[in-house]
């Protein structure tokens, strides 16, 4: 405190001017998102084309924003949609309500719903923001439909990058399983290496599993 106090404040500004800029010129340049970034959802399939969703509604039950609506139905005997007795007959997410917390991903017992790195989802009507099965479910080839066409902003390849928290630990929750793949690999957006580095030993990212 003293006579120079008003000027000392400018010192902060002056220091910032010589720092590296963190602002990205978003439309022109896109930053690489962290591995666990929570973008829009996708419904996965098994490599044989079966849907992973069994319509159990755990995602809808856990959702803090109550933005997911699921209804299950009995699998047709001759042409089952998913392995087992039941499949997700209706699947809707209201993206306007979604808070991208990924609790649905965490709750999903079959890794049917995962999040991707794509977040550009602007719409002009509220109805368009409700993603139904046709917008969420990947094709058997592993392509994910997206309501908006690719553009400078929208890189559809980001839909194939899944967020990577899931295999940080094994289903049993034991650190000893770190880096060990606990589930069958998935087509498309399911390709995720088991995450490592939770125990802080090496920090390598388990590339041998890709």
């Amino acid at each position: 405190m003293g006579l120079f106090s008003p000027i000392a404040g400018f010192g902060v500004t002056l220091k910032q001017m010589f720092r590296k800029r963190v602002t990205a010129q978003y439309p022109k340049e896109k930053r690489v998102k962290p591995q666990r970034f929570h973008g829009r959802h996708v419904l996965n399939r098994y490599p044989d084309g079966m849907e992973k969703c069994i319509g159990c509604e755990l995602c809808a039950g856990i959702c803090p924003a109550r933005c997911i609506y699921v209804r299950g139905k009995e699998n047709p005997k001759d042409a089952p949609v998913s392995p087992g007795e039941r499949y997700g007959f209706v699947y809707e997410i209201n993206m306007l309500r979604c808070i991208f917390c990924a609790m649905c991903v965490e709750a999903c017992p079959t890794e049917a719903i995962t999040m991707t790195h794509l977040f550009e989802m602007s719409v002009t009507t509220r109805d368009d923001a409700i993603y139904t099965r046709s917008e969420l479910l990947m094709s058997p080839e592993g392509d994910v439909p997206h309501p908006q066409p690719p553009s400078k902003l929208i890189d559809l390849d980001e839909l194939k990058v899944a967020d990577g928290w899931m295999r940080a630990t094994a289903p049993a929750g034991r650190a000893a399983y770190e880096g060990v793949r606990g589930w069958t690999p998935t087509a498309g957006a399911g390709h995720r290496p088991p995450e490592r580095g939770q125990s802080g030993d090496d920090g390598a990212d388990g590339e041998e599993d890709a």
Binding site: I54, C56, E57, A60, G72, E85, T110
Partner: protein, 794 residues
């Protein structure tokens, strides 16, 4: 009354408590406020100790002993521990065992989220299993009946379903088979689990081994909104929980109401929710146009048309209009209907029954009246009534319990074998029309009936009396009641089937009654008289409230003709029934679970029904419709709301004083409140009279009675129950078959008072020779008359 049992004192986890001697430890501990996890134990069934989950430690002379609390009665000075490390370890071990073969497919299981095994594994189970081998596999799920699916992989062999079927419902169609690791629950080969009570096993299954087809994958427990209500299907009035998701009713569960259903439901009640979601529900008013077709109309247009038509008929003179129905409505709607017909239409021609019931004065004011719970104390039960298993299934369970578990004498009098016969002490059969003679012989107690008479002289006696079939004179039932009322310490339960017919009688929906069990000094026409008046032109118009005389009246064709001849008809209904289709104006009403109110069951117990669903389209509560009609006709019936009507009823009807919605919604009132009987302040007290209807001296008589799954509107509106209705058949005594030269399976043509039908023959030796039995409402309408002619069809 048995004397109060002695109390014993015991200690649980250091706390002292007192319970009646002989109480099972698990119940005693619960009374002391300690919860013991369990799977196989059910308070309404005998304990077996199958699951071993309820282990506790009891201090004994040789130290602490682990034992199952569900099989151990409390003794004086017992010291029990439920929270020791040993108990926890034992329970953890039991759960690990139970989970060895459990598939853990909780996400696809209908039970997931409300599963005792899931909950108790989370609460008391081990975190991990040491079992790494392949689990047991069975094809899953297998349908064991039209309504129930069995997944044996999930089964933990608790024997709840097998015990229920054996002990409670008396249809032991599901049983354990094989031994050791291969033990499984299953049905007998080629014998489906076709029990009227199969849904209860789904509800009490502690895992998802038994699931119900109508609910399969429809919702998860956390989707469901629930409200407690009273089953709308028959006059027993079982307490249920109505559960819905996204404004669609998805299931009914039984709620344990000790004096009435004790937790059980019949399958018709349990799966009879589907009519609420039917696409055939009326959702907009209909009026008849110039071409004679029913076309959609706005409410204002339809109400104007209805009011104009009724006003025109009313202007022709007093008593030109009539009202039928109200037996499926709430008390509030029934009361509003009574006021509408009496005040606005100015007529006393009002009936809630369709010629198939009993005298409404008997229903409302018989003395001495029995309650269902009197069966717990009865020494002798006399059932001279419809086959309870077919018409009032949960009352059948209560009578069955009295006859088996509680050891009462059971005397069943019926024209043919009934569901109760296997547990009855004495069964008597008679030909319809010869009931008076049977009653006289029974009263005499001479000869072969001496033993029956001796049994009836053992009180307390509960007499369940109704019309066994359509051919039985209602006055015979009254004569039986008069006889039964004279038995030692006797009480009479008059039974008819339609759900709120007792409430309708209490609300004055009868030609001889005014609201509140008051006799009407200027009685109007009953259903038969109304239909006759419509046909002859003595009556100018009719208002139907949830009533379908063209199907349900004892002579359907006669009723249909009367409706065709009727001047002006307004139908307020949920469906476009054959009768509503003949009306000039059809107004869509809200039904069960869509309106709030009270209903009265066959013992006079008033219970609350609650609202959960919005109902289809622009359908409205019946009392609102009636109020709007009344206002258009220049009056009001004071039906501002159902609650206002309830308050008015409590003020008008002495028996209903104090029975408010508030009292019925909380605490003990949720069990329902029995409207005080004639010994209270009630004006009408009917002592049954000993009528002697004329005997029938015919060669061949017809017995017609209802079956549980028929072609009724509500049953057919749901896909699950609709397919359970059987094809109609003629049940013929073998002697008669020989006499007429017909074989089982051959077709016969039956011609009765109201129609004829060609039916396949089933031989039924349980009939008295000279009787033909035809189930009602399965498609063969023969009329109500006793007389029948039969000829073989070649």
């Amino acid at each position: 009354m048995p004397s109060q049992p002695d109390l014993v004192t015991f200690t649980v986890d250091g706390k002292e408590a007192q319970v009646p001697a002989g109480t099972l430890l698990i119940e005693a501990v619960k009374a002391a406020g300690v919860h013991i996890p369990h799977f196989c134990y059910h308070p309404r069934m005998k304990p077996v100790g199958m699951c071993r989950m309820c282990l506790v430690q009891v201090e004994g002379p040789r130290g602490m002993m682990l034992g199952t609390s569900c099989t151990m009665p409390v003794t004086e000075g017992m010291v029990v521990h439920t929270d020791t490390d040993t108990v926890a370890k034992a329970q953890e071990g039991v759960l690990e065992f139970l989970l060895l073969n459990h598939p853990l497919d909780c996400p696809v299981c209908d039970r997931g989220g409300e599963c005792p095994l899931q909950d108790q594994t989370m609460a008391a189970g081990p975190g991990e299993s040491r079992f790494v081998e392949e689990k047991r596999h069975y094809p899953k799920p297998i349908p064991i009946s039209d309504l129930v699916l069995l997944d044996r992989e999930r089964c933990i062999l608790c024997a709840r379903c097998t015990r229920f079927s054996d002990e409670i419902s008396g249809d032991p169609l599901i049983e354990f088979k094989d031994r050791g690791n291969a033990t499984q629950v299953n049905t007998f080969p080629d014998e489906p689990f076709a029990s009227y009570f199969s849904g209860n096993t789904v509800q009490i299954c502690p895992v998802g081994a038994l699931t119900a087809t109508p609910y399969r994958f429809r919702a998860r427990p956390w989707d469901l909104e629930a409200v407690e209500s009273t089953c709308p299907h028959c006059s027993v009035g079982c307490r249920i929980s109505v559960q819905a998701s996204r404004n669609e009713a998805l299931r009914f569960l039984g709620v344990d109401n000790g004096p009435v259903n004790q937790g059980w439901l019949c399958d018709k009640g349990r799966f009879g929710f589907e009519f609420l979601n039917s696409g055939d529900r009326l959702d907009t008013p209909l009026v008849r146009d110039e071409d004679g077709d029913l076309v959609e109309a706005s409410w204002a247009e339809a109400l104007d048309r209805a009011a104009a038509g009724l006003s025109a008929a009313a202007a022709e003179g007093p008593g030109r209009l009539a009202g039928l129905g109200g037996a499926r409505s709430t008390n509030e709607e029934a009361y509003a209907f009574g006021r509408f017909v009496r005040e606005t239409l100015g007529s006393n021609h009002l009936d809630a029954q369709l010629g198939d019931g009993l005298d409404p004065r008997v229903l409302a004011g018989i003395t001495p009246r029995a309650a269902i719970d009197d069966l717990e104390r009865a020494r002798t039960v006399l059932v001279w009534a419809p086959d309870l298993k077919e018409e009032l299934p949960v009352l059948y369970l209560r009578v069955r319990r009295a006859a088996t578990e509680l050891g009462a004498n059971l005397v069943v009098v019926h024209p043919r074998a009934t569901g109760l016969d296997p547990v009855a002490t004495h069964t008597l059969r008679y030909r319809p029309g010869a009931g008076t003679e049977m009653l006289r012989r029974l009263a005499d107690g001479s000869g072969d009936l001496a033993a029956v008479r001796a049994a009836l002289d053992e009180g307390p006696v509960v007499a369940i009396i109704g019309r066994p079939g359509l051919g039985d004179d209602p006055r015979l039932a009254e004569a039986v009641m008069a006889f039964a009322a004279g038995l030692p310490d006797a009480a009479v339960l008059p039974v008819t089937r339609r759900s709120n017919v007792y409430g309708a009688a209490d609300m004055g929906l009868a030609p001889t009654l005014l609201p509140g069990r008051v006799a009407n000094d200027a009685p109007g026409r009953d259903a038969a008289g109304i239909l006759e008046g419509l046909a002859s032109g003595d009556l100018g118009g009719l208002v139907l409230l949830g009533s379908d005389p063209a199907t349900d009246y004892v002579e359907p064709q006669q009723a249909a003709a009367a409706l065709d001849a009727a001047g002006f008809t307004v139908a307020i209904d949920l469906f476009l029934t054959p009768s509503a289709a003949k009306a000039d104006v059809v107004l869509p009403a809200l039904g069960f679970a869509e309106t709030e109110g009270t209903v009265t069951n066959l013992e006079g117990r008033v219970q609350k029904v609650n609202r959960l669903l919005p109902g289809p389209g622009s359908a409205r509560p019946a009392h609102e419709i009636l109020e709007d009609l009344a206002r258009r006709m220049g009056g009001s019936i004071g039906a501002a709301s159902a609650e206002a009507l309830a308050a008015e009823i409590a003020g008008t009807a002495p028996a209903y004083a104090g029975i408010t919605w508030e009292a019925l919604s909380w605490g003990a009132g949720r069990e329902g409140i029995v409207a005080p009987g004639p010994e209270g302040s009630q004006p009408l007290a009917v002592a049954p009279e000993d009528h002697a209807p004329p005997p029938a001296a015919r060669d061949l008589v017809l017995h017609q009675a209802r079956v549980l799954y028929d072609r009724g509107t509500l049953t057919q509106a749901g896909p699950s129950l609709a397919k359970l209705a059987k094809e109609p058949a003629a049940y013929v005594h073998p002697e008669d078959a020989t006499r007429f030269g017909i074989k089982a399976g051959a077709a016969v043509r039956l011609t009765g008072s109201g129609g004829s039908a060609e039916l396949p023959v089933v031989l039924d030796p349980s009939l008295v020779a000279g009787t033909v039995y035809v189930p009602l409402h399965l498609g063969a309408a023969l009329g109500a008359g006793l007389e029948i002619s039969m000829e073989a069809v070649t």
